[in-house]
């Protein structure tokens, strides 16, 4: 019964998400800034993909799989362009 209610895939996904969160906290250690940002970025991206593939079953629907990936890709394109474009305008590329 327990095996049926707690499939190994979900349990592993959950444990990895906890471990990844703990890993992210190591960014608070005294290491170079670039390393900190790398830790945060990599753990966050892996965690997000974990949710997407393990829990949200994005890859299970055969008839709309391509559309779902395109949807997420387009959303990420718009989101990243907005974030980095605005940073480019106001922070890195500001006339001073």
């Amino acid at each position: 019964m327990m095996k049926q209610l707690f499939p190994i895939r979900h349990v592993m996904g959950y444990l990895s998400s906890l471990i990844l969160s703990a890993l992210a906290v190591t960014a608070l250690l005294d290491i170079p800034f670039a390393a900190k940002m790398a830790i945060l970025t990599v753990t966050a991206i892996i965690q997000a993909s974990l949710q997407l593939f393990v829990f949200m079953h994005i890859s299970e629907t055969a008839d709309t799989k391509k559309e779902l990936y395109l949807n997420i890709a387009y959303a990420l394109f718009v989101g990243l362009v907005t974030i980095f474009g605005s940073m480019y305008i106001f922070v890195w590329g500001w006339y001073s």
Partner: protein, 647 residues
């Protein structure tokens, strides 16, 4: 708050507006009661979830808003027609150019386009309705609530007056203390949510509801353009949602996003506004391109030239449209590298647009062109829009833009893009699909009269503005002295505006005239057209197609007529349709009350209506809607009646 602050006072014209609003409301109520039409209105229209009726309501609202925005425009041109005119004061002028922009973009162009999408797209893909019919009704009523809220601002509390782009710090509570810009943030927010839901609805409809055989690359070009537009809507409107929410927090709750003190950054508003605002331009222009593609192909009696390149260029435009926004504020203070980057992306976007222009020209080459009213608008669009596009490339050059930034040159440019690009398209589409929806054509002679007035007067109105801009006349100035020498060209422009107005009067008269005298069609295909929407009868039965079409070629109906590839091969089966619901219109009304209460910071009514919204949503979640089933017998009878056969 005192009552004399609540109502806008002190202007004879506003008293006139109030009186006419009250009189019109009384006339509508009396009329509906006298003719016993309340039940009809509620059953057939207010509660409808039928995509065709929702589309008609969108288009009707858009026509009314076109009138409102047009009156604003005439007043602006009248005020600037001669130097030092006293017709409007500066405050009134500010309100009018602000509402003109807002109404024309968000409450005229958008609903007109979405209305045509609603009517046409499900028919073009052979579907019974959109994917989520009730959500579609919610979308419409949210748009309508937002539109009414913005219009109410004219007589209650005062209109927004910081331009349609509402730049901070001018639009902040410090410099615009009236409720005008609260209306801005809330009216746009409410209708924006409706638009976002429409976008999602149409993506699902087009990707999942197509008839058998209707592969993506067989879809009519208007459906393709609607798909791309819906994608842009789904990803651009959330940005507007956030920007408007931040504006509301700044104005109502004292946050510091766009303020001048405490670290606030006023320019961030301009940034967010245009992150949404530039894709918005393509939201209103891409479906217009789709409309022109359909019309040019139909009236040239040829298939569309370069179908694949049309699709590819729209996809490229949709991606590039998110990469160009900073060209709206080259002079804001960001560095030269930033301006250089956005200058290049802006020029790049003119390439796919140019591809489309050539495709339309090649579609007409060696075609048998018939000069109907919709075709005339499409033909006029090509050269006029090209002028708009070329001046756009001029504005795209950052260093040159410093010379004519925010002058009348810019005003002329975007009218040269938006009027042929969008207004001509929706009018052409209106003439083209009118017989589909109502079963008779608009009168061609009157239609052509209106066309010539509109097309010629448009150029008389806006061409002089290029020169005024180059002479240094900035936009949004309410008057000027005689020494500037701006007088004669402005007067010419006013004359053009009168001609435009006359053209629109003929257009409206044509609707009345055609309802009375136009011969009724019995054939669903009055233009000898090519796509699937013409395969069903006009007016269209509630279930769209008695038999689900089976598509075998790109121009499905054309192939059925001339290449012997029949569309309807199955037999009639019972059809399942969604049932009507009163909840969307009630939801719209509560949203209106919610917005109105927030505009005036009336917290208790706002909380009550906020809870009301949640209650309606919850009750919708608990609803069990099984819909209605139309039997084979009913379908047969309807089909016979529509074909003009007696029972």
């Amino acid at each position: 708050m005192k009552w004399d602050e609540f109502f806008v006072t002190g202007e004879p014209m506003i008293y006139g507006a109030m009186a006419s609003i009250v009189l019109a409301t009384i006339a509508i109520i009396v009329g509906l009661t006298y003719f016993k039409k309340w039940g009809y209105l509620w059953r057939e229209w207010l509660t409808t979830v039928d995509h065709k009726r929702i589309g008609v309501m969108y288009i009707l609202s858009a026509l009314i808003m076109l009138f409102r925005g047009g009156v604003d425009a005439i007043m602006m041109r009248l005020q600037t027609a001669v130097p030092e005119n006293k017709f409007l004061d500066s405050q009134h002028y500010n309100e009018i150019f602000t509402t003109h922009g807002l109404i024309m973009i968000l409450f005229m162009a958008m609903p007109f386009i979405i209305g045509i999408m609603n009517v046409v797209v499900p028919l073009q893909i052979g579907a019974r309705d959109v994917a989520f019919p009730r959500l579609n009704a919610i979308s419409f009523w949210l748009f309508f609530a937002g539109a009414m809220l913005l219009n109410l601002s004219f007589v209650i509390g005062g209109s927004p007056d910081a331009g349609w782009s509402a730049y901070f710090p001018l639009a902040s509570i410090e410099f615009s203390p009236t409720v005008g810009n609260n209306y801005y943030s809330l009216a746009l927010q409410i209708s924006g949510i409706g638009t976002l839901l429409t976008g999602i609805n149409f993506i699902v409809t087009i990707l999942k509801m197509r008839a058998p055989g209707m592969k993506l690359m067989r879809m009519p070009m208007f459906t393709w353009s609607s798909l791309i537009t819906s994608v842009i809507i789904a990803f651009a409107f959330p940005v507007l949602t956030v920007a408007l929410a931040l504006m509301m927090f700044d104005r109502l709750f004292g946050s510091q996003f766009f303020t001048m003190a405490n670290g606030g950054m006023d320019m961030l508003w301009a940034n967010l506004f245009w992150v949404w605002g530039h894709p918005e331009v393509y939201i209103v222009v891409l479906p217009a391109f789709g409309i022109f593609s359909e019309i040019i192909s139909t009236f040239s009696k040829k298939n569309l030239y370069g179908y694949t390149s049309m699709v590819v260029s729209m996809v490229v435009i949709s991606l590039l449209s998110f990469l160009v926004w900073a060209h709206h504020f080259y002079t804001m203070g960001q560095g030269a590298m930033v301006n250089g980057f956005f200058s290049i992306t802006t020029m790049a976007i003119s390439v796919p647009t140019g591809v489309k222009i050539f495709n339309w020209l090649f579609t007409m080459r060696k075609g048998k062109i018939t000069f109907t009213t919709p075709m005339l608008y499409s033909l006029a669009f090509i050269p006029i829009f090209t002028i708009g596009g070329v001046t756009g490339v001029m504005l795209a050059m950052a260093s040159a833009d410093y010379q004519y930034h925010n002058t009348m040159f810019l005003v002329a440019h975007f009218h040269y893009v938006l009027i042929p690009g969008t207004v001509f398209a929706v009018i052409a589409g209106f003439h083209y699909w009118f017989p589909k929806v109502f079963g008779f054509k608009l009168n061609e002679r009157l239609g052509k009269h209106a066309f010539w007035w509109i097309a010629v007067s448009f150029n008389v109105t806006f061409f002089p503005l290029f020169f005024l801009g180059l002479q240094g006349m900035t936009r949004r100035m309410y008057t000027y002295s005689e020494e500037t020498g701006f007088g004669p060209l402005n007067l010419l422009s006013f004359a053009g505006a009168l001609g435009l107005a006359f053209g629109f009067v003929i257009l409206v008269y044509n609707i009345y005239y055609s309802i009375r005298y136009s011969p009724r069609e019995t054939n669903g295909d009055p233009w000898d057209a090519r796509t699937l929407e013409w395969a069903t009868s006009s007016p269209i039965p509630a279930y769209n197609f008695a038999i689900t079409p089976n598509v075998k070629a790109r121009d499905a109906l054309w192939s059925a007529k001339y290449d012997n590839l029949p569309i309807f091969e199955g037999k009639i089966e019972p059809i399942h349709l969604p049932s009507n619901s009163g909840k969307p219109v009630i939801l719209g009304a509560i949203f209106f009350a919610f917005g109105f209460a927030l505009v005036f910071s009336w917290w208790i009514p706002a909380i009550i209506s906020g809870i009301g919204i949640l209650i309606i949503l919850a009750s919708m979640s608990f609803d069990r809607d099984h819909g209605i089933t139309v039997s084979v017998k009913e379908i047969m009878e309807t089909e016979k009646k529509l074909r003009g056969e007696t029972l």
